[in-house]
Amino acid sequence: MTQGFDYVIIGNSAGSMGCIEMLRSIDRSGTIALVAEETCRVYSRALIPYYLAGQIDLEKMYYRKADFYEKLNVAALLGQKAVDIDTGKKEVLLSGGERIGYNKLLLATGGRPLIPPMEGLDKENIFTFLNMDDVLKIEKALKSAQRAVVLGGGVIGLMAAEALCKKGLQAHVVELAGRVLAPVVDEPVSSLLEALFAEKGVQVTTNNTIKEIKGGSAVDGVVLTDGTQISCDMLVLAMGVAPRIELGVQAGLKIDRGILVNERMETSQADLYACGDCAQGYDSVAGISKVIPLWPNAYLGGRIAGANMAGGRRENVWSTNMNSMHFFDLCLITAGLNVSAKDPGDFVNISRLDMQKKYYRKFTLREGRIAGFILAGKISRAGIFVNLMRTKADVSQFADDLFNEDFGYGSIPENLRWELLEKDLILGVVNQ
Protein backbone atom coordinates (compact mmCIF):
# COMPACT_ATOMS: atom_id res chain seq x y z
CA MET A 1 0.00 0.00 0.00
CA THR A 2 1.23 3.46 -0.80
CA GLN A 3 1.72 5.78 2.12
CA GLY A 4 0.76 9.33 1.36
CA PHE A 5 2.18 12.58 2.74
CA ASP A 6 1.07 16.18 2.47
CA TYR A 7 4.63 17.17 1.68
CA VAL A 8 7.49 15.12 0.30
CA ILE A 9 10.99 16.57 0.18
CA ILE A 10 13.79 14.94 -1.78
CA GLY A 11 17.19 15.91 -0.45
CA ASN A 12 18.62 16.52 2.99
CA SER A 13 20.65 19.70 2.96
CA ALA A 14 20.16 23.48 3.10
CA GLY A 15 17.14 23.69 0.76
CA SER A 16 15.28 20.91 2.54
CA MET A 17 15.94 22.48 5.92
CA GLY A 18 14.69 25.87 4.76
CA CYS A 19 11.56 24.20 3.44
CA ILE A 20 10.85 22.08 6.52
CA GLU A 21 11.42 24.94 8.94
CA MET A 22 9.10 27.19 6.96
CA LEU A 23 6.46 24.47 6.55
CA ARG A 24 6.38 23.84 10.26
CA SER A 25 6.04 27.52 11.08
CA ILE A 26 2.82 27.56 9.01
CA ASP A 27 1.49 24.01 9.11
CA ARG A 28 2.05 22.12 12.36
CA SER A 29 0.02 19.05 11.54
CA GLY A 30 0.58 18.34 7.82
CA THR A 31 2.57 15.17 7.21
CA ILE A 32 6.12 15.57 5.90
CA ALA A 33 8.44 12.92 4.48
CA LEU A 34 12.07 13.53 3.64
CA VAL A 35 13.88 11.19 1.25
CA ALA A 36 17.68 11.18 1.13
CA GLU A 37 20.32 8.91 -0.35
CA GLU A 38 22.80 9.50 2.43
CA THR A 39 22.18 7.69 5.70
CA CYS A 40 23.39 10.39 8.08
CA ARG A 41 21.38 13.24 9.48
CA VAL A 42 21.61 16.72 8.00
CA TYR A 43 25.12 18.15 7.94
CA SER A 44 26.68 21.18 6.33
CA ARG A 45 28.70 20.46 3.20
CA ALA A 46 30.17 23.91 3.52
CA LEU A 47 31.94 22.76 6.68
CA ILE A 48 33.86 19.92 5.03
CA PRO A 49 37.11 21.93 4.73
CA TYR A 50 36.82 23.05 8.36
CA TYR A 51 36.47 19.47 9.50
CA LEU A 52 39.27 18.09 7.36
CA ALA A 53 41.61 20.87 8.51
CA GLY A 54 40.90 19.80 12.08
CA GLN A 55 39.18 23.05 13.06
CA ILE A 56 35.93 21.41 14.15
CA ASP A 57 34.94 17.94 15.32
CA LEU A 58 32.50 15.68 13.50
CA GLU A 59 29.60 16.61 15.78
CA LYS A 60 29.83 20.23 14.64
CA MET A 61 29.43 19.18 11.02
CA TYR A 62 25.80 18.49 11.84
CA TYR A 63 23.62 21.43 10.95
CA ARG A 64 20.75 20.61 13.27
CA LYS A 65 20.40 18.60 16.47
CA ALA A 66 19.96 14.81 16.37
CA ASP A 67 16.28 15.05 17.30
CA PHE A 68 15.51 17.55 14.50
CA TYR A 69 13.28 15.26 12.41
CA GLU A 70 11.48 13.90 15.42
CA LYS A 71 10.87 17.33 16.91
CA LEU A 72 9.48 18.70 13.66
CA ASN A 73 7.56 15.51 13.04
CA VAL A 74 9.27 14.62 9.77
CA ALA A 75 9.39 11.02 8.52
CA ALA A 76 13.07 10.84 7.55
CA LEU A 77 13.54 8.12 4.94
CA LEU A 78 17.32 8.11 4.99
CA GLY A 79 19.44 5.83 2.84
CA GLN A 80 16.72 5.68 0.20
CA LYS A 81 17.05 7.09 -3.26
CA ALA A 82 14.10 8.58 -5.08
CA VAL A 83 14.32 6.97 -8.51
CA ASP A 84 11.17 8.09 -10.28
CA ILE A 85 8.28 10.48 -10.00
CA ASP A 86 4.80 9.68 -11.31
CA THR A 87 3.24 13.11 -11.61
CA GLY A 88 -0.11 11.62 -12.66
CA LYS A 89 -0.51 9.47 -9.57
CA LYS A 90 1.53 11.96 -7.51
CA GLU A 91 3.88 9.29 -6.26
CA VAL A 92 7.61 8.98 -5.74
CA LEU A 93 9.25 5.60 -6.33
CA LEU A 94 12.06 4.78 -3.92
CA SER A 95 15.08 2.58 -4.64
CA GLY A 96 13.78 -0.06 -2.24
CA GLY A 97 10.66 -0.45 -4.38
CA GLU A 98 8.43 1.46 -2.00
CA ARG A 99 6.13 4.19 -3.31
CA ILE A 100 5.11 7.27 -1.39
CA GLY A 101 2.37 9.66 -2.35
CA TYR A 102 2.62 13.43 -2.14
CA ASN A 103 0.38 16.42 -2.31
CA LYS A 104 3.28 18.87 -2.75
CA LEU A 105 6.77 17.78 -3.73
CA LEU A 106 10.09 19.59 -3.39
CA LEU A 107 13.16 18.60 -5.38
CA ALA A 108 16.22 19.66 -3.43
CA THR A 109 18.57 17.13 -4.93
CA GLY A 110 21.65 19.36 -5.03
CA GLY A 111 24.56 18.93 -7.36
CA ARG A 112 27.03 16.28 -8.37
CA PRO A 113 30.76 16.82 -8.83
CA LEU A 114 31.86 17.60 -12.36
CA ILE A 115 34.47 15.10 -13.48
CA PRO A 116 35.91 15.42 -16.97
CA PRO A 117 36.99 12.22 -18.68
CA MET A 118 40.58 11.32 -17.84
CA GLU A 119 42.63 8.19 -18.05
CA GLY A 120 43.10 6.46 -14.71
CA LEU A 121 40.07 7.78 -12.84
CA ASP A 122 39.43 4.31 -11.42
CA LYS A 123 42.52 4.33 -9.19
CA GLU A 124 42.42 4.51 -5.41
CA ASN A 125 42.95 7.73 -3.47
CA ILE A 126 41.03 9.87 -5.95
CA PHE A 127 38.32 11.83 -4.20
CA THR A 128 35.58 14.33 -4.80
CA PHE A 129 34.87 16.94 -2.13
CA LEU A 130 31.13 17.05 -1.67
CA ASN A 131 29.57 14.61 0.74
CA MET A 132 30.05 12.78 4.00
CA ASP A 133 31.32 9.70 2.24
CA ASP A 134 34.08 11.79 0.61
CA VAL A 135 34.96 13.30 3.97
CA LEU A 136 35.40 9.96 5.71
CA LYS A 137 37.43 8.54 2.83
CA ILE A 138 39.71 11.58 2.63
CA GLU A 139 40.16 11.54 6.38
CA LYS A 140 41.34 7.94 6.19
CA ALA A 141 43.72 8.67 3.34
CA LEU A 142 45.13 11.70 5.17
CA LYS A 143 46.76 9.40 7.68
CA SER A 144 49.37 8.26 5.18
CA ALA A 145 49.21 10.75 2.30
CA GLN A 146 51.99 13.27 1.90
CA ARG A 147 51.46 14.91 -1.45
CA ALA A 148 48.13 15.92 -2.90
CA VAL A 149 47.07 17.36 -6.21
CA VAL A 150 43.85 19.35 -6.24
CA LEU A 151 42.26 19.71 -9.66
CA GLY A 152 40.31 22.96 -9.71
CA GLY A 153 41.26 26.38 -8.41
CA GLY A 154 37.78 27.58 -7.56
CA VAL A 155 36.31 28.12 -4.10
CA ILE A 156 36.13 24.41 -3.24
CA GLY A 157 39.52 23.57 -4.74
CA LEU A 158 41.29 26.34 -2.86
CA MET A 159 39.54 25.48 0.39
CA ALA A 160 40.49 21.83 -0.09
CA ALA A 161 44.11 22.79 -0.78
CA GLU A 162 44.23 24.95 2.33
CA ALA A 163 42.80 22.15 4.48
CA LEU A 164 45.31 19.65 3.10
CA CYS A 165 48.15 22.12 3.64
CA LYS A 166 47.06 22.62 7.24
CA LYS A 167 47.17 18.84 7.70
CA GLY A 168 50.82 18.94 6.65
CA LEU A 169 50.45 17.73 3.09
CA GLN A 170 52.33 19.16 0.16
CA ALA A 171 49.42 20.45 -1.92
CA HIS A 172 49.48 21.42 -5.58
CA VAL A 173 46.51 23.14 -7.24
CA VAL A 174 45.96 22.73 -10.98
CA GLU A 175 43.58 25.18 -12.63
CA LEU A 176 42.46 25.23 -16.24
CA ALA A 177 41.80 28.98 -16.39
CA GLY A 178 44.56 31.55 -16.44
CA ARG A 179 44.10 32.38 -12.75
CA VAL A 180 42.46 31.03 -9.61
CA LEU A 181 38.88 31.85 -8.60
CA ALA A 182 38.35 33.49 -11.99
CA PRO A 183 34.53 33.35 -12.03
CA VAL A 184 34.08 35.32 -8.81
CA VAL A 185 37.11 37.61 -8.43
CA ASP A 186 39.17 39.83 -10.72
CA GLU A 187 42.87 39.75 -11.61
CA PRO A 188 44.29 41.58 -8.56
CA VAL A 189 42.55 39.21 -6.13
CA SER A 190 43.66 36.15 -8.08
CA SER A 191 47.23 37.47 -7.86
CA LEU A 192 46.82 38.11 -4.14
CA LEU A 193 45.58 34.56 -3.63
CA GLU A 194 48.25 32.96 -5.78
CA ALA A 195 50.91 34.85 -3.82
CA LEU A 196 49.28 33.83 -0.53
CA PHE A 197 49.12 30.15 -1.43
CA ALA A 198 52.73 30.23 -2.64
CA GLU A 199 53.75 31.83 0.66
CA LYS A 200 52.10 28.94 2.50
CA GLY A 201 53.88 26.40 0.36
CA VAL A 202 50.97 25.47 -1.89
CA GLN A 203 51.97 25.42 -5.53
CA VAL A 204 49.44 26.72 -8.04
CA THR A 205 49.63 25.84 -11.72
CA THR A 206 47.25 27.70 -14.04
CA ASN A 207 46.41 27.32 -17.73
CA ASN A 208 46.73 23.61 -17.33
CA THR A 209 44.82 20.48 -16.49
CA ILE A 210 45.34 16.78 -15.95
CA LYS A 211 45.77 14.63 -19.02
CA GLU A 212 46.51 11.36 -17.35
CA ILE A 213 46.46 9.86 -13.89
CA LYS A 214 49.45 7.60 -13.16
CA GLY A 215 49.89 4.75 -10.74
CA GLY A 216 49.16 1.08 -10.10
CA SER A 217 46.05 0.39 -8.07
CA ALA A 218 46.44 3.77 -6.36
CA VAL A 219 47.31 7.14 -7.82
CA ASP A 220 51.01 8.01 -7.65
CA GLY A 221 51.11 11.01 -9.93
CA VAL A 222 49.49 13.02 -12.67
CA VAL A 223 50.59 14.22 -16.10
CA LEU A 224 49.38 17.65 -17.16
CA THR A 225 48.45 18.66 -20.69
CA ASP A 226 51.77 20.46 -21.14
CA GLY A 227 53.62 17.30 -20.15
CA THR A 228 54.51 18.34 -16.60
CA GLN A 229 54.53 15.43 -14.18
CA ILE A 230 53.56 15.82 -10.55
CA SER A 231 53.90 12.96 -8.13
CA CYS A 232 51.20 12.63 -5.50
CA ASP A 233 49.50 10.02 -3.38
CA MET A 234 46.15 11.75 -3.32
CA LEU A 235 44.07 13.50 -5.95
CA VAL A 236 41.10 15.73 -5.12
CA LEU A 237 38.71 16.58 -7.94
CA ALA A 238 37.14 19.96 -7.27
CA MET A 239 35.94 21.33 -10.57
CA GLY A 240 32.57 22.41 -9.33
CA VAL A 241 29.13 20.84 -9.32
CA ALA A 242 26.45 20.26 -11.92
CA PRO A 243 22.76 20.35 -10.99
CA ARG A 244 21.26 16.91 -10.32
CA ILE A 245 18.31 17.12 -12.65
CA GLU A 246 17.53 13.45 -13.38
CA LEU A 247 14.30 13.36 -11.40
CA GLY A 248 13.21 16.57 -13.04
CA VAL A 249 13.88 15.06 -16.46
CA GLN A 250 11.84 11.97 -15.59
CA ALA A 251 9.00 14.14 -14.36
CA GLY A 252 9.06 16.04 -17.66
CA LEU A 253 9.95 19.38 -16.06
CA LYS A 254 11.34 22.29 -18.04
CA ILE A 255 15.07 22.27 -17.66
CA ASP A 256 17.94 24.44 -18.83
CA ARG A 257 21.13 23.86 -16.84
CA GLY A 258 19.05 23.35 -13.70
CA ILE A 259 15.38 22.70 -13.11
CA LEU A 260 13.65 25.95 -14.05
CA VAL A 261 11.72 27.63 -11.27
CA ASN A 262 9.78 30.88 -11.01
CA GLU A 263 9.97 33.37 -8.15
CA ARG A 264 7.75 31.10 -6.06
CA MET A 265 10.13 28.18 -6.66
CA GLU A 266 7.45 26.40 -8.70
CA THR A 267 8.64 24.19 -11.54
CA SER A 268 6.80 23.85 -14.84
CA GLN A 269 4.47 21.26 -13.27
CA ALA A 270 1.80 21.91 -10.68
CA ASP A 271 2.63 20.94 -7.09
CA LEU A 272 6.29 20.39 -7.94
CA TYR A 273 8.86 22.76 -6.50
CA ALA A 274 12.64 22.90 -6.70
CA CYS A 275 15.36 24.83 -4.92
CA GLY A 276 19.08 24.88 -4.25
CA ASP A 277 21.86 23.58 -6.47
CA CYS A 278 19.51 21.56 -8.69
CA ALA A 279 17.33 24.56 -9.50
CA GLN A 280 17.73 27.50 -11.82
CA GLY A 281 16.12 30.76 -10.79
CA TYR A 282 16.65 34.41 -11.47
CA ASP A 283 19.77 36.41 -10.70
CA SER A 284 18.38 39.87 -9.98
CA VAL A 285 21.66 41.67 -10.59
CA ALA A 286 22.78 39.79 -13.69
CA GLY A 287 19.22 39.89 -15.04
CA ILE A 288 19.38 36.31 -16.27
CA SER A 289 18.13 32.89 -15.24
CA LYS A 290 20.96 31.09 -13.48
CA VAL A 291 21.93 28.31 -11.10
CA ILE A 292 23.28 29.90 -7.91
CA PRO A 293 24.84 26.94 -6.08
CA LEU A 294 25.36 28.50 -2.68
CA TRP A 295 24.22 27.40 0.76
CA PRO A 296 22.29 30.59 1.70
CA ASN A 297 20.53 30.65 -1.64
CA ALA A 298 19.43 27.04 -1.19
CA TYR A 299 18.09 27.66 2.31
CA LEU A 300 16.20 30.75 1.20
CA GLY A 301 14.78 28.98 -1.85
CA GLY A 302 13.58 26.14 0.37
CA ARG A 303 11.95 28.65 2.66
CA ILE A 304 10.07 30.30 -0.17
CA ALA A 305 9.04 26.91 -1.60
CA GLY A 306 7.84 25.86 1.86
CA ALA A 307 5.64 28.92 2.25
CA ASN A 308 3.99 28.32 -1.12
CA MET A 309 3.68 24.57 -0.60
CA ALA A 310 1.79 25.29 2.62
CA GLY A 311 -0.69 27.41 0.72
CA GLY A 312 0.83 30.81 1.41
CA ARG A 313 2.18 33.13 -1.19
CA ARG A 314 5.77 34.21 -1.05
CA GLU A 315 8.16 35.28 -3.75
CA ASN A 316 11.88 35.42 -4.04
CA VAL A 317 12.32 39.15 -4.44
CA TRP A 318 16.06 39.34 -4.84
CA SER A 319 18.94 36.95 -5.26
CA THR A 320 22.37 37.04 -6.76
CA ASN A 321 25.73 35.36 -6.52
CA MET A 322 27.31 36.12 -3.13
CA ASN A 323 30.30 34.52 -1.48
CA SER A 324 32.04 34.86 1.84
CA MET A 325 35.35 33.00 1.91
CA HIS A 326 38.62 32.99 3.70
CA PHE A 327 41.90 31.47 2.72
CA PHE A 328 44.46 31.22 5.51
CA ASP A 329 44.12 34.66 7.10
CA LEU A 330 42.70 36.46 4.11
CA CYS A 331 38.98 37.21 4.23
CA LEU A 332 37.20 37.65 0.96
CA ILE A 333 33.67 38.71 0.11
CA THR A 334 32.18 38.98 -3.35
CA ALA A 335 28.66 39.84 -4.50
CA GLY A 336 26.88 40.52 -7.74
CA LEU A 337 28.67 40.85 -11.03
CA ASN A 338 32.38 40.26 -11.45
CA VAL A 339 33.30 42.71 -14.20
CA SER A 340 36.88 42.59 -15.38
CA ALA A 341 38.86 45.80 -15.76
CA LYS A 342 39.84 44.62 -19.24
CA ASP A 343 36.35 44.73 -20.67
CA PRO A 344 34.04 46.76 -18.47
CA GLY A 345 31.49 47.67 -21.16
CA ASP A 346 28.82 49.93 -19.66
CA PHE A 347 30.19 49.41 -16.17
CA VAL A 348 32.58 51.59 -14.23
CA ASN A 349 35.00 49.86 -11.88
CA ILE A 350 36.44 51.78 -8.98
CA SER A 351 39.07 50.05 -6.86
CA ARG A 352 41.88 50.40 -4.33
CA LEU A 353 44.67 47.89 -3.89
CA ASP A 354 47.40 47.51 -1.30
CA MET A 355 49.30 44.28 -2.03
CA GLN A 356 51.44 44.67 1.10
CA LYS A 357 48.46 44.94 3.43
CA LYS A 358 46.53 42.37 1.38
CA TYR A 359 43.75 44.91 1.05
CA TYR A 360 41.58 45.27 -2.01
CA ARG A 361 38.21 46.78 -2.60
CA LYS A 362 36.42 47.08 -5.89
CA PHE A 363 32.96 48.33 -6.74
CA THR A 364 31.40 47.82 -10.13
CA LEU A 365 28.93 50.59 -10.83
CA ARG A 366 26.20 50.86 -13.44
CA GLU A 367 24.70 54.34 -13.69
CA GLY A 368 25.99 55.11 -10.21
CA ARG A 369 24.50 51.99 -8.68
CA ILE A 370 26.44 49.05 -7.27
CA ALA A 371 26.18 46.00 -9.54
CA GLY A 372 28.94 44.04 -7.85
CA PHE A 373 31.77 44.33 -5.38
CA ILE A 374 34.81 42.52 -4.09
CA LEU A 375 36.33 43.02 -0.65
CA ALA A 376 39.62 41.43 0.33
CA GLY A 377 41.26 41.86 3.70
CA LYS A 378 38.72 44.08 5.40
CA ILE A 379 35.18 42.76 5.13
CA SER A 380 33.41 44.33 8.12
CA ARG A 381 29.79 45.32 7.56
CA ALA A 382 29.81 44.09 3.96
CA GLY A 383 26.05 43.60 4.20
CA ILE A 384 25.56 47.35 3.99
CA PHE A 385 27.02 47.24 0.48
CA VAL A 386 24.66 44.39 -0.37
CA ASN A 387 21.79 46.48 0.94
CA LEU A 388 22.86 49.39 -1.27
CA MET A 389 23.06 47.00 -4.20
CA ARG A 390 19.66 45.43 -3.47
CA THR A 391 17.92 48.79 -3.10
CA LYS A 392 19.65 50.11 -6.25
CA ALA A 393 20.78 53.16 -4.33
CA ASP A 394 22.70 55.81 -6.24
CA VAL A 395 26.12 55.86 -4.58
CA SER A 396 27.85 58.26 -6.97
CA GLN A 397 27.72 61.12 -4.43
CA PHE A 398 29.71 59.16 -1.85
CA ALA A 399 31.56 56.61 -3.99
CA ASP A 400 34.91 57.58 -2.43
CA ASP A 401 33.65 56.76 1.06
CA LEU A 402 32.97 53.16 0.05
CA PHE A 403 36.71 52.59 0.48
CA ASN A 404 36.64 53.83 4.06
CA GLU A 405 37.45 50.83 6.29
CA ASP A 406 34.85 52.04 8.80
CA PHE A 407 32.13 52.59 6.22
CA GLY A 408 28.71 52.49 7.84
CA TYR A 409 25.31 54.16 7.80
CA GLY A 410 27.02 57.29 9.12
CA SER A 411 28.88 57.47 5.79
CA ILE A 412 25.67 57.48 3.76
CA PRO A 413 24.03 60.86 2.96
CA GLU A 414 21.17 61.65 5.26
CA ASN A 415 18.19 61.24 2.92
CA LEU A 416 19.31 57.87 1.64
CA ARG A 417 20.34 56.74 5.11
CA TRP A 418 16.93 57.30 6.67
CA GLU A 419 15.26 55.86 3.60
CA LEU A 420 17.22 52.66 4.13
CA LEU A 421 16.75 52.54 7.89
CA GLU A 422 13.46 54.19 8.73
CA LYS A 423 11.22 51.69 7.03
CA ASP A 424 12.93 48.99 9.02
CA LEU A 425 11.70 50.42 12.29
CA ILE A 426 15.10 51.46 13.44
CA LEU A 427 13.93 54.85 14.50
CA GLY A 428 11.88 55.46 17.56
CA VAL A 429 10.94 59.07 17.12
CA VAL A 430 12.32 61.24 14.39
CA ASN A 431 11.02 64.22 12.46
CA GLN A 432 8.54 64.86 15.24
Binding site: A46, Y299, S324, H326, I379, R390, G408, D424
Partner: protein, 152 residues
Protein backbone atom coordinates in the same frame (compact mmCIF):
# COMPACT_ATOMS: atom_id res chain seq x y z
CA UNK B 1 9.46 40.56 21.43
CA UNK B 2 11.97 43.04 22.82
CA UNK B 3 13.64 45.46 20.51
CA UNK B 4 15.97 48.42 20.85
CA UNK B 5 14.87 51.56 19.05
CA UNK B 6 16.95 54.68 18.64
CA UNK B 7 16.35 58.40 18.76
CA UNK B 8 19.09 60.05 16.73
CA UNK B 9 17.78 63.50 17.58
CA UNK B 10 18.86 63.13 21.20
CA UNK B 11 21.98 61.02 20.72
CA UNK B 12 25.10 63.05 21.53
CA UNK B 13 27.59 60.46 20.28
CA UNK B 14 29.18 59.84 23.69
CA UNK B 15 29.79 56.14 22.85
CA UNK B 16 28.77 55.10 26.37
CA UNK B 17 26.52 52.44 24.82
CA UNK B 18 29.64 50.84 23.36
CA UNK B 19 31.43 51.05 26.71
CA UNK B 20 28.56 49.46 28.63
CA UNK B 21 28.05 46.81 25.95
CA UNK B 22 31.64 45.75 26.59
CA UNK B 23 30.96 45.66 30.35
CA UNK B 24 27.78 43.62 29.88
CA UNK B 25 29.71 41.05 27.85
CA UNK B 26 32.80 41.01 30.05
CA UNK B 27 33.50 38.19 32.45
CA UNK B 28 33.60 40.40 35.56
CA UNK B 29 30.83 42.90 34.63
CA UNK B 30 33.06 45.50 36.26
CA UNK B 31 33.87 48.51 34.10
CA UNK B 32 37.48 48.93 35.27
CA UNK B 33 38.34 45.26 35.22
CA UNK B 34 36.59 44.80 31.89
CA UNK B 35 38.83 47.37 30.23
CA UNK B 36 42.05 47.06 32.21
CA UNK B 37 42.43 43.47 33.25
CA UNK B 38 40.45 41.18 30.99
CA UNK B 39 42.52 39.82 28.13
CA UNK B 40 41.23 39.63 25.55
CA UNK B 41 38.79 42.41 26.37
CA UNK B 42 35.15 41.92 25.45
CA UNK B 43 33.98 43.67 22.30
CA UNK B 44 31.06 46.00 21.79
CA UNK B 45 28.15 44.68 19.77
CA UNK B 46 26.70 48.13 19.23
CA UNK B 47 28.23 50.63 16.83
CA UNK B 48 27.81 54.39 17.06
CA UNK B 49 27.30 55.71 13.55
CA UNK B 50 28.62 59.21 13.10
CA UNK B 51 27.88 61.83 10.51
CA UNK B 52 28.34 64.92 12.62
CA UNK B 53 26.26 66.47 14.00
CA UNK B 54 24.08 63.34 13.60
CA UNK B 55 25.01 60.27 15.64
CA UNK B 56 23.06 57.15 16.49
CA UNK B 57 23.64 53.68 17.84
CA UNK B 58 23.03 50.63 15.72
CA UNK B 59 22.97 46.96 16.69
CA UNK B 60 21.34 43.70 15.57
CA UNK B 61 17.67 44.32 14.80
CA UNK B 62 16.61 40.75 15.67
CA UNK B 63 14.78 40.71 12.31
CA UNK B 64 11.62 38.72 11.83
CA UNK B 65 13.16 37.45 8.59
CA UNK B 66 16.79 37.20 9.67
CA UNK B 67 19.05 36.94 6.61
CA UNK B 68 21.97 35.97 8.86
CA UNK B 69 20.11 32.89 10.09
CA UNK B 70 19.28 31.81 6.54
CA UNK B 71 22.89 32.28 5.44
CA UNK B 72 24.57 30.59 8.41
CA UNK B 73 26.37 27.47 7.16
CA UNK B 74 27.00 25.95 10.57
CA UNK B 75 23.62 26.35 12.28
CA UNK B 76 25.18 28.71 14.85
CA UNK B 77 22.62 31.44 14.22
CA UNK B 78 18.97 30.81 14.90
CA UNK B 79 15.78 32.65 15.68
CA UNK B 80 14.39 31.78 19.08
CA UNK B 81 10.71 31.25 18.42
CA UNK B 82 9.70 32.08 21.98
CA UNK B 83 11.71 35.23 22.71
CA UNK B 84 12.07 36.36 19.09
CA UNK B 85 15.78 36.95 19.62
CA UNK B 86 18.27 36.10 16.93
CA UNK B 87 20.75 34.02 18.89
CA UNK B 88 24.34 33.20 18.05
CA UNK B 89 25.86 30.00 19.43
CA UNK B 90 29.56 30.78 19.56
CA UNK B 91 30.44 27.11 20.04
CA UNK B 92 29.01 26.25 16.62
CA UNK B 93 30.34 29.32 14.80
CA UNK B 94 33.22 28.58 12.40
CA UNK B 95 33.85 32.16 11.34
CA UNK B 96 32.77 31.83 7.71
CA UNK B 97 31.36 35.38 7.84
CA UNK B 98 28.37 34.58 5.61
CA UNK B 99 26.27 36.53 8.14
CA UNK B 100 28.54 39.55 7.78
CA UNK B 101 27.90 39.40 4.05
CA UNK B 102 24.12 39.42 4.30
CA UNK B 103 23.22 41.53 7.35
CA UNK B 104 21.78 44.75 5.87
CA UNK B 105 22.59 46.69 9.05
CA UNK B 106 26.20 45.61 9.44
CA UNK B 107 25.05 44.41 12.84
CA UNK B 108 27.28 41.35 13.02
CA UNK B 109 30.71 42.12 14.42
CA UNK B 110 33.87 40.21 13.59
CA UNK B 111 35.85 39.05 16.60
CA UNK B 112 39.33 39.02 15.03
CA UNK B 113 40.89 37.38 18.08
CA UNK B 114 38.64 34.32 18.06
CA UNK B 115 37.93 34.32 14.31
CA UNK B 116 34.21 34.16 14.97
CA UNK B 117 31.40 36.68 15.03
CA UNK B 118 29.58 38.31 17.90
CA UNK B 119 26.30 40.16 17.97
CA UNK B 120 23.76 41.85 20.24
CA UNK B 121 21.94 39.35 22.45
CA UNK B 122 19.67 42.02 23.98
CA UNK B 123 21.63 41.45 27.22
CA UNK B 124 20.02 38.16 28.04
CA UNK B 125 19.85 37.76 31.82
CA UNK B 126 19.68 41.48 32.54
CA UNK B 127 16.49 43.36 33.14
CA UNK B 128 17.19 45.73 30.25
CA UNK B 129 19.95 45.88 27.66
CA UNK B 130 22.95 47.72 29.15
CA UNK B 131 23.20 50.16 26.23
CA UNK B 132 19.64 51.25 26.95
CA UNK B 133 19.86 51.47 30.73
CA UNK B 134 23.18 53.36 30.61
CA UNK B 135 22.40 55.87 27.87
CA UNK B 136 22.53 59.27 29.62
CA UNK B 137 20.20 60.87 27.09
CA UNK B 138 17.55 58.25 26.59
CA UNK B 139 18.62 57.91 22.96
CA UNK B 140 18.13 54.16 23.12
CA UNK B 141 14.74 52.76 24.05
CA UNK B 142 13.84 49.18 24.81
CA UNK B 143 10.36 48.24 23.74
CA UNK B 144 8.38 45.08 24.01
CA UNK B 145 6.32 45.04 20.89
CA UNK B 146 4.23 42.33 19.34
CA UNK B 147 5.42 42.79 15.78
CA UNK B 148 9.16 42.42 15.37
CA UNK B 149 10.81 44.59 12.77
CA UNK B 150 12.20 43.03 9.68
CA UNK B 151 14.09 43.94 6.62
CA UNK B 152 11.49 43.21 4.05
Amino acid sequence: MGKILIKPEVCIGCHLCEIWCVVAHSRTKDILKAFLLEKPAALSRVIVEESLPVTFALQCRHCSEPECVFACISGALYKDTVSGRVIHDSEKCVGCYSCVLVCPYGGIIIDQENKKVIKCDLCEGFEKPYCVSHCPNGALVYTNQEEGGGNK
